[in-house]
């Protein structure tokens, strides 16, 4: 046996049973007609199972139709449901007020069946079209967001691939930076922002010649000057798009080599003049770099790395960020283990 096809649901809110009888007779063949004889009951029904349309009588005891409508429109669950007010013939004031409160239309008693059917059908069709469009927009927006994040992630890793074959450094340091942010009281949303922006910190390396970037030995002063341009190159690459993510990514690219004591580059910012997220990213970046093997150095041990951070607290690094790192060291080491260089992922 085929499953029964669900009919659209019309909720009639009216304290007069004979009025509900009429609407049930007019609409019952095409719609599932529900009824509430009190405003409060109607609100509870809508909250539990939102109907496709509400026919709402103006004149009801205790809570009148206007108050019901106001409450429906103030509730996100019911705000989009079309409401048709039911008034008595010639009550132009009620009709106007109902429309002002967000009703889509009005009907007058005594009912004209063909008019009732026509209005209900039209508004339900519009409502369903609206829901369908909203769904489509949400899906497209989600797709765009995911695409944007993927492009940013890939671009960040592109910079990293220049001097790190697996590109795992950006994963480790961005997850570590997120942990630091959350530990310092940032929200989940801010933590996600850090996670998504941090991979862009070294994108400026794309603009550094291989002979300098991949040089195994010590850089000459001239080469070092070129190398120190990568934060500004990175900021140029990220651009100046107004989105919060792109602005944060630009800031991180530009500021991740500034130092707490003002000895960093490119602008020698000092202390809290360095944006908070950049201070965290710096710690996460160096933490991972010290624990990793690079063309010019061996990997440091955890103990050596901790000693370095303690020694550089208040110099290279913000003391509070170093303290946070030490507080959550086991979690940060778990990130190291999870994204090991040999476990390259797509």
């Amino acid at each position: 046996m085929d499953a029964p096809v669900s009919k659209p649901v019309v909720l009639v809110v009216d304290d007069a049973p004979e009025s509900i009888d009429v609407l049930r007779g007019v609409l019952g063949a095409e719609y599932q007609v529900k009824a509430a004889i009190h405003g409060q009951v109607a609100l509870e029904l809508v909250q539990a199972a939102p109907p496709d349309l509400i026919l709402l009588d103006v004149m009801m005891p205790e809570m009148d139709g206007f108050e019901v409508c106001e409450r429906l429109k103030a509730n996100p669950v019911s705000a989009q449901i079309p409401v048709i007010f039911v008034t008595t013939l010639g009550d132009a004031g009620s009709e106007g007020r109902g429309l002002e409160l967000g009703a889509v239309d009005y009907l007058t008693k005594p009912y004209v069946p063909a008019l009732v059917r026509s209005r209900v059908k039209s508004h339900i069709a519009l409502h369903h079209r609206h829901l369908s469009l909203e769904h489509e927009v949400r899906a497209r927006t989600r797709e765009l967001t995911e695409t944007r994040l993927e492009v940013i992630r890939r671009l960040g890793r592109a910079g990293e691939y220049r001097d790190n074959e697996t590109g795992m450094h950006v994963l480790r340091m961005s997850h570590t930076a997120r942990l630091l942010a959350l530990r310092q009281g940032m929200s989940e949303g801010e933590g996600d922002l850090v996670l998504q922006a941090a991979p862009m910190h070294d994108v400026g390396k794309l603009g550094i010649p291989d002979r300098i970037l991949l040089k195994p030995g010590k850089l000459t002063p001239e080469e070092w000057q070129i190398m120190k341009q990568h934060p500004e190159i990175g900021a140029e690459i990220v651009g100046n798009h107004p989105s919060e993510l792109m602005q944060t990514a630009r800031m991180v690219a530009l500021r991740h080599h500034e130092r707490w004591d003002g000895s960093g580059y490119p602008h020698g910012l000092r202390g809290e003049a360095i944006p908070r997220i950049a201070r965290l990213v710096t710690v996460a970046d160096v933490f991972d770099a010290l624990l990793s093997t690079r063309p010019y150095k061996k990997a440091w041990t955890v103990a050596e790395t901790i000693e370095e951070f303690k020694a550089q607290s208040g110099r290279h690094f913000e003391p509070a960020s170093v303290a946070t790192l030490l507080e959550i060291l086991p979690e940060c080491l778990a990130v190291q283990a999870k994204y090991r260089d040999e476990a390259a992922v797509d």
């Binding site: 029964p4 669900s6 009919k7 909720l11 009639v12 049973p17 509900i20 049930r24 019952g28 599932q32 007609v33 529900k34 009824a35 509430a36 004889i37 009951v41 029904l45 199972a49």
Partner: protein
């Protein structure tokens, strides 16, 4: 949406359907009520609770109807062998 039942469905099935309709404030409870009244027309002990349920449903007072249906359920159960009524799922 409550599952529909045939017009000649047993009273126990109609009682279940009536409960589902009443709980969702579905005005199809009016028709279900009529089918229920017809199926129990030979049960003298049920006429009083049936009448009260009918009045509450026809005035669309579903909160009251739920209470009246509870009373009707109890009256119906009293007319049935316990094992059979339970087997019907009520």
């Amino acid at each position: 949406m409550p599952v529909p039942v045939e017009g000649d469905a047993p009273p126990s099935a109609l009682l279940l359907r009536a409960r589902a309709l009443i709980e969702s404030h579905d005005t199809a409870a009016v028709e279900c009520m009529r089918a229920l009244a017809a199926s129990l027309s030979d049960q003298a002990s049920m006429q009083e609770p049936l009448k009260r349920l009918e009045v509450s449903i026809e005035s669309y007072n579903f909160e009251l109807a739920r209470l009246e249906l509870d009373a009707l359920d109890r009256a119906f159960a009293a007319t049935q062998p316990a094992s059979r009524y339970k087997a019907d799922g009520a």
